[in-house]
């Protein structure tokens, strides 16, 4: 069989670290090849090498049997290599068509010729069954559609080696199925696909072969059909990983948090609809309640209203029976509320502070860490060392590391450590495992369950269906700002849940 890409014995070093250590990756013509690895395993570095963003110290790259030197993305593009990034690179106020031709416009005497481009785009979208409206504005179409635009962009450039960087992170289950189908169609037409992911289900579903990296090293390449998920995760993490969360039956106690009739008005001009629409629910001691929904259905606003970061227009929030609706953020922070925020860079961390300072972000003023207005640096540092040790937070210079330089996974671990260590009555965990690898996810899930068992109430907001199904004791589905269902995870299937999330099924929430 012919290899379209061969990356042979690639070694790429950064000071203090070998990001890629003698890695070999071979992509066959017409296959879907998964690249599996934890955060920091070196997947992105390897791809950057392929795109010429880094020059490897050792190793050669061959494209279609010929040794090549790739000096930058333009070289890669000329060789037919294209990539769909995890965060799409689209101009939001441009149309689909404009985005697709961007950078490769056909012009005649300086005037842009869209007719030919339109024809080609329409042809491509029919050929590969990627239906999009070429005149729709990007900001008006769904994330799944935007991804199709990205795929079309690659096809328009006649790329035949397609790289998908964690493409499913932002999609609903239905959209994921659709993407899997598209990927198979593409390979049927002779394209070759490199699929970067850490989701084993998806690999099982579409990939032919899978290359596993761990901590910069090449672990092996396996045929997906002959390998089960447990084996792959063991290769990836280096030890046996429990893929399902072990948890006992929940024993819900008294109500810790109650949200009554909460509404948030849209702040966008001309919008009168409520972004959060008369939401009612309770979270009890010792249970994990999950708010499931597709991104952008009011989860963020709901959480911000509860914590006080954002505004609310109506409603009431009670913690331990006390009305905290009008209380300050600090009051809530010090009266039992802990919050793992959705956006770790915006809210979770002061990136230019070191790790130790970030680990006491809500506690620096407490007598434990300060005296007479002066910080007790010794205590802060000791506390940081304790958390680093206990939660295995890895960084260059330990507690002194500026958090900006830490990897995303370790930043997240630091936040989770900080919030759990505060021993909250109610823990608001918003996408606590976003962007983390299996090992870290397992760890954080176990921590959440342990926290539940020690008597905390946990409100989990998640977009990951696996997480929702695995972890929660009760599922509230949010759609367009309203709770549309209150489900028992044991009695509902993933497909059904997907339908609720997409708004095509509705069941008035029982006011538990």
């Amino acid at each position: 069989m012919d290899y379209v890409i061969e990356m042979l014995n690639i070694t790429k070093e950064f000071p203090g670290i070998i990001a890629n250590d003698d890695i070999t990756l071979r992509l066959k013509q017409g296959e879907i090849h998964a690249l599996l690895g934890e955060n920091g395993a070196g997947k992105s570095t390897l791809m950057s090498v392929l795109f010429g963003l880094y020059q490897p110290e050792k190793g050669v790259i061959k494209v279609k049997g010929k040794e090549v030197k790739i000096r930058g993305p333009l070289d890669a593009n000329a060789l037919g290599i294209g990539m769909v990034h995890q965060h799409f690179k689209l101009v939001h106020n441009f149309t689909v068509l404009q985005n697709i031709v961007l950078g490769m416009e056909t012009t005649k005497g300086g005037i842009i010729q869209m007719a030919d481009a339109r024809k080609k785009v329409v042809e491509l979208s029919e050929k590969y069954n990627l239906l999009v409206d070429p005149d729709a504005i990007i900001s008006d179409i769904t994330v799944g559609m935007q991804q199709r635009v990205e795929i079309l962009k690659m096809l328009y450039r006649d790329n035949d080696i397609l790289i998908f960087d964690e493409p499913t992170a932002v999609l609903t289950p239905q959209e994921i199925d659709e993407l899997m189908r598209i990927m198979k169609d593409l390979t049927a037409e002779g394209k070759s696909i490199l699929f970067i992911t850490h989701k084993l289900n998806e690999i099982k579903q579409v990939a032919d072969r899978c290359t596993v990296l761990r901590r910069g090293k090449y672990i092996g390449t396996v045929d997906v059909a002959d390998t089960d998920k447990e084996q792959m995760s063991e290769m990836m993490v280096g030890r046996k990983v429990n893929l399902t969360v072990e948890k006992s039956e929940a024993k819900p106690g008294e109500v810790v948090m109650e949200v009554k009739d909460l509404c948030v008005k849209s702040v966008r001009e001309g919008h009168t609809k409520n972004v959060v629409d008369h939401v009612n629910f309770q979270v009890r001691k010792g249970e994990i309640v999950c708010i499931a929904g597709i991104d952008g259905n009011g989860q963020t606003e709901l959480v911000h209203a509860i914590t006080g970061i954002g505004n609310m227009s109506e409603g009431q929030i009670l913690i331990n029976g006390e009305d905290v609706t009008k209380k300050s953020i600090r009051y809530k922070n010090t009266h039992g509320l802990s919050h793992i925020p959705e956006d770790r860079h915006k809210h979770g961390l002061v990136l230019d502070y070191n790790l130790a300072y970030n680990l006491v972000l809500q506690q620096y003023f407490e007598p434990r860490f300060s005296k007479g207005g002066f910080l007790k640096k010794k205590e802060i540092n000791e506390y940081a060392d304790l958390l680093i040790e206990k939660y295995d937070i890895r960084s260059g210079q330990g507690k002194e590391t500026i958090t900006r330089s830490m990897s995303g996974g370790n930043q997240q671990k630091a936040i989770v450590a900080r919030e759990i260590m505060r021993n909250p009555d109610i823990l608001l965990a918003v996408q606590p495992t976003r962007g983390l690898d299996v090992g870290a996810i397992e760890y954080i899930h176990n921590q959440l369950v342990a926290q539940r068992d020690s008597g905390s109430a946990i409100l989990l907001v998640s977009l990951e269906l696996d997480e929702v199904m695995n972890l929660s004791d009760r599922i509230l589905v949010i759609y367009e700002g309203a709770i549309v269902a209150d489900l028992d995870p044991k009695k509902v299937t993933v497909q059904e849940l997907g339908l609720y999330m997409a708004g095509s099924k509705r069941k008035e929430a029982d006011h538990a």
Binding site: G42, S48, G216, I329, G398
Partner: protein, 378 residues
């Protein structure tokens, strides 16, 4: 991993680099203007401050007092995420407050100068507070409002001094001298540096430098101010009252700039508020000082003394038929290059990386279990 943090010297190095380039360019300019006098002229810039021995040194400290304080005002605001371009306005308003009390309050005796000084501080603080309030509550960019406040301060002070007879000297079109009791005492510095204009103001400036350093680095208050400066959203998340922090940052920055004004006009060196329609340049020099000092209080102290030293030396350039403005050009070049500090930092860290890499190749065992995150975010 448990190593103590290494001192990050690249910042200091880039400032030194900027100074060297600035001096070099200054020399080139001297060469262009008058080749025959360039070498002695350049020598004068470097050593002119010592022309009169201890007196000259005292003079340098005297000059530096004002710009250390305005530099500190700007640097402090920078550290908390704000650009206090309004130091000039706060400076002049603070200076006016000090002069007013210095002339009008006649029966305060030995605490007269303290009251005058504090009045300057309070007025400066008020002047800084306004942009702070606008920023915190209406999200008005502090740069714009502070520039406005500079003009309001300058014209307001001019108008008030001119129209209020008891403090106006209409012959010289400036404020009258303050009473003897309002002058800041020498605090023994005149013995160390005889005949120079140095006074207790310099010690006050040093004290404030130390105070600001402690507040920023050691206290929970400083922790909050810096956190808000770095990331307003995360601070809000953490329950810090970020509006209060922004206002207080500007109040403190204004107070320091106001103190600078008070120190200048209470120095007893014949400085008066002149009625000219020019924004006080002490505030802008403060920006230079803050940049050169990397906004660190101690850095600002040395940067202030250094620029004062150059200015003092530059004064003697006139002996060689150069104009004193050349020294402004040199200072400008230095600042220009210290603005490139980031670039220099980058070059330095690249050099270090190369060095580190060569060592690393031999050092890192292939199976190092401690190996941390890969180039994932790179």
């Amino acid at each position: 991993m448990l190593k103590k943090k290494k001192f990050d010297y690249t910042g200091v190095l880039s400032s030194v680099f900027a100074i060297l380039i600035g001096l070099l360019m200054g020399f080139v300019i001297l060469l262009l203007c008058n080749p025959s006098q360039a070498v002695p002229g350049f020598f004068t810039i470097l050593t002119g401050a010592f022309t009169h021995g201890a007196k000259g040194v005292g003079q340098v400290f005297y000059y530096s007092t004002t710009i250390i304080l305005t530099g500190l005002s700007v640097g402090f605001a920078f550290k908390t995420g704000l650009f206090n371009i309004g130091a000039s306005g706060q400076f002049i308003v603070g200076g006016f407050g000090a002069v007013y009390v210095g002339i009008m309050c006649k029966n305060l005796g030995s605490i007269h100068w303290v009251v005058a000084l504090l009045t300057g501080v309070v007025l400066g603080a008020l002047w800084g507070m306004i942009p702070g309030l606008l920023k915190a509550f209406f999200n008005v960019n502090e740069v714009i409002s502070a520039i406005m406040m500079n003009y309001i301060g300058m014209y307001g002070v001019n108008w008030f001094v001119k129209s209020y007879k008891p403090i106006f000297n209409n012959i010289r079109n400036e404020s009258k001298p303050v009473l003897e009791t309002a002058n800041i005492p020498k605090m023994g510095l005149d013995k160390l540096f005889p005949e120079s204009s140095i006074n207790g103001g310099f010690l006050i400036a040093v004290l404030v430098v130390i105070l600001v350093y402690i507040v920023l680095d050691k206290t929970t208050f400083g922790y909050e101010l810096k956190a808000v400066g770095y990331n307003r959203d995360a601070s809000r998340y953490a329950g810090i009252n970020e509006k209060k922090s922004i206002v207080l940052s500007m109040v403190i920055a204004g107070a320091i700039a106001g103190l600078a004004g008070a120190c200048l006009y209470l120095a007893g060196t014949g400085k008066h508020i002149e009625i000219v329609d020019v924004i006080a340049d002490e505030g802008f020099t403060g920006i230079s000082v803050a940049l050169l000092g990397l906004c660190h209080p101690i850095g600002v102290l040395f940067a202030g003394i250094f620029i004062a030293y150059l200015t003092a030396g530059g004064f003697y350039l006139q002996l060689f038929e150069f104009s004193v403005e050349i020294i402004d050009i040199i200072v400008a070049i230095i600042i220009y290059f210290s603005a490139f500090a980031l670039m220099v930092k980058l070059i330095l860290s690249k050099l270090e990386k190369k060095k580190g890499m060569a060592e690393q190749v031999n050092k890192t065992p292939p199976n190092d279990p401690k190996q941390e995150r890969g180039g994932e975010e790179a």
